[in-house]
Symmetry: C2
């Protein structure tokens, strides 16, 4: 044994096998190109409102620069609990709130909490790819429920969902409103899925980071509005989209009370907490940010309508109208390789879109355009896209 040659150790095979972002694969070669109109990432184009920045600066200067409890600053946990109670229409106590260092970190913590190697994790597809990769990092088998467009609307086949839950995965992960499709789960679908998960003892994890970015209501329907406090339901959320705080890395979980202690350990052994003064700024965002949220949604509605109208009029394009989130996700007739097509769009036509394949096999044949930009920018991008499509 000691005489054998020693293999030079490297990263785990499982980590080497994780996917790189195919959005990054398209975008990276062009990051320094000033001509490109960048609609490939999922981010509001407005900077964080100054009143939130001021709150962070004030907290820093007041000495809020020390360690804070791993579950989060108590005042922020209270503010989130009040906010979520209002949105959900039922009381959610601060003892059920775990502050996280981003929505992504919240998902990572849930996976660490629930998923043993070899467990099955079921989610819908197409979907933001980080969810599947976080599950694979934990050694999970990821099973996808393919969605399809029915009568011009993205749709989840409830028979497929029932079959998937009956196979008893460790968790079912649902992102609604959905990145990239803009699909929004109905309250009736949520009631049905919750009932199935209860019956089969399956964790239901709902990613609600776009719950306020909806165009026909104040907020999206939520499983947390109908679940009991001890239901096996976990909500994932984030400050990134509502308050233009992507760079702040602040999110939260709503969990059954019996999970709080274990999550305190997991946050301690991951990031220990989100940054202290960032958490204090989060309180201000929640308390004083409603006018900004309302303004942001109106801007996004303009962007959505403009983009949808133009794309729907193009004979090579099929698109369903997004009900929420920041994206137009559309099929292009004759486009078989979205990665190659998006790369050509960027290189030759100077418009940066995300390739559908980045969101799983079910996304192939599609492109994703983030409409969180000024109308003038969106119009120029659409001109270039239409030119590329030969119109």
């Amino acid at each position: 044994m000691t005489a054998s040659p020693i293999a030079r150790p490297g990263a785990r095979a499982l980590v080497r096998g994780l996917a790189d972002s195919k959005i990054r694969e398209v975008a990276n070669p062009f990051m320094a190109d000033p001509e490109i109109i960048r609609l490939w990432f999922g981010e509001p184009d407005l900077p964080t409102p100054q009143f939130i920045c001021d709150a962070a600066a004030k907290a820093m200067s007041a000495g809020k620069t020390y360690y804070v409890p791993s579950l989060g600053v108590p005042e922020l946990r209270h503010a989130i609990a009040e906010y979520q109670s209002t949105i959900k229409g039922r009381p959610i106590g601060p003892e059920r709130i775990v502050v996280t260092a981003s929505g992504m970190s919240a998902i990572q913590l849930v996976v660490q909490l629930l998923v043993d190697p070899g467990d099955a994790v079921t989610t819908t597809s197409p979907l933001w790819p980080n969810v599947s990769e976080a599950a694979r990092l934990a050694g999970a088998q990821v099973e996808l429920i393919e969605m399809s467009v029915e009568d011009g609307r993205w749709s989840l086949d409830m028979q497929k969902v029932a079959d998937a839950i009956a196979r008893r995965p460790k968790m079912l992960f649902i992102n609604s409103p959905c990145n990239p499709t803009g699909w929004m789960m109905t309250a009736a679908e949520q009631q049905a899925v919750l009932g199935l998960c209860r019956r089969h003892g399956v964790w239901l994890v709902v990613d609600e980071v776009y719950e306020r970015i909806v165009f026909e209501a104040d907020h999206a329907p939520s499983v947390l509005s109908i679940a009991e406090p001890d239901d096996r339901v976990i909500g994932v959320n984030s400050f990134s989209k509502n308050w233009s705080m992507t760079g702040w890395r602040l999110g939260w979980l709503v969990v059954p009370t019996d999970l709080t202690d274990d999550l305190a350990k997991l946050t301690e052994y991951n990031t220990a907490s989100a940054a202290s003064f960032v958490q204090w700024a989060g309180i201000t965002a929640i308390k004083d940010g409603e006018p900004f949220v309302a303004k942001q949604v109106e801007r996004l509605r303009c962007g959505r309508d403009l983009v949808h109208q133009r794309l729907a009029a193009n004979p090579r394009i099929r698109i369903s109208k997004p009900e929420g989130a920041l994206y137009a996700f559309f099929a292009v007739d004759g486009m078989k390789d979205s990665l190659a097509f998006a790369t050509r769009l960027a290189g030759e036509h100077k418009v940066g879109l995300a390739p559908g394949i980045a969101f799983g096999p079910g996304g192939e044949g599609h492109l994703r355009l983030c409409f969180a930009s000024e109308a003038e920018t969106l119009s120029r991008a659409l001109d270039r896209l239409e030119h590329a499509l030969g119109r």
Copy 2:
């Protein structure tokens, strides 16, 4: 199968089995007690210098509130690379720097990168407990090399180290200067350990968060000063201690170049990045923070000397003089249960120390006192401790 009752699912058994912090166990009942002198946590008592807060506020107002690359803001990676090249006395390029959302997050990422379930992870003991718990979360078997006090100095038995490395764990984790013991590994010991790790194909992970908090030199000796860029060596570091930035959650890794791509994936699937303007403030901390680091070390030297002198004079106490870090770690004759003793100290004598058992079995019989406080505060705490010890 479907007829059997469905077990109500919970957190993973592995997560439920992780240890809570025994420091928290002592401190939590007394968090609201205004009389307690709090020397139980490991944190500089000074708030973050205003010039660093100003840099963050300026970055926010300049719109540095968006997503940044998952490996970190390029300008910060360059600043850290230059800083580390100076400290280590050999060139370390920015392509080897990964910005993380805290030193803890850096350790978590290294474990995710290298450790498969069932792998062995070897470290020294007593040690800050989060390292072992992060490894256990990954399913690792943790093996401890017990340190002991020889000739009044904490000491690592190099024969034990050689034997441990020959058993070929996945990684050897060394924290020097060490929390809690204040032990500092010598350059000769580092050379020997590096040679052994090379010979046996074992990753050497060095936690250097206290590398500037040393009392007889500008910085601690480092394996990174002697390792080649492609050696299987990873450095863990943090802004928390040097620049009083514990609440900011900013750290970094120095890695062999061939690991950078895999760490980009792991950061993306954990926190995506540290907060954007926090990273810009980090650049200012590095570039303009040397006078603050010098002042902080002098303050800590005063605290160390005061505490060491008083404790060494107590007949019930055995202590070795800390060579680095923020802590006096001392044995109390006749104290068998450090958790009970520390709880009694807090409750009856109003002085908050960390129980030695929090740092592993080898820490039992000891207490940890963080000397990052004003002399007057430290003196009052020592008065109370001496009173409790019956002097």
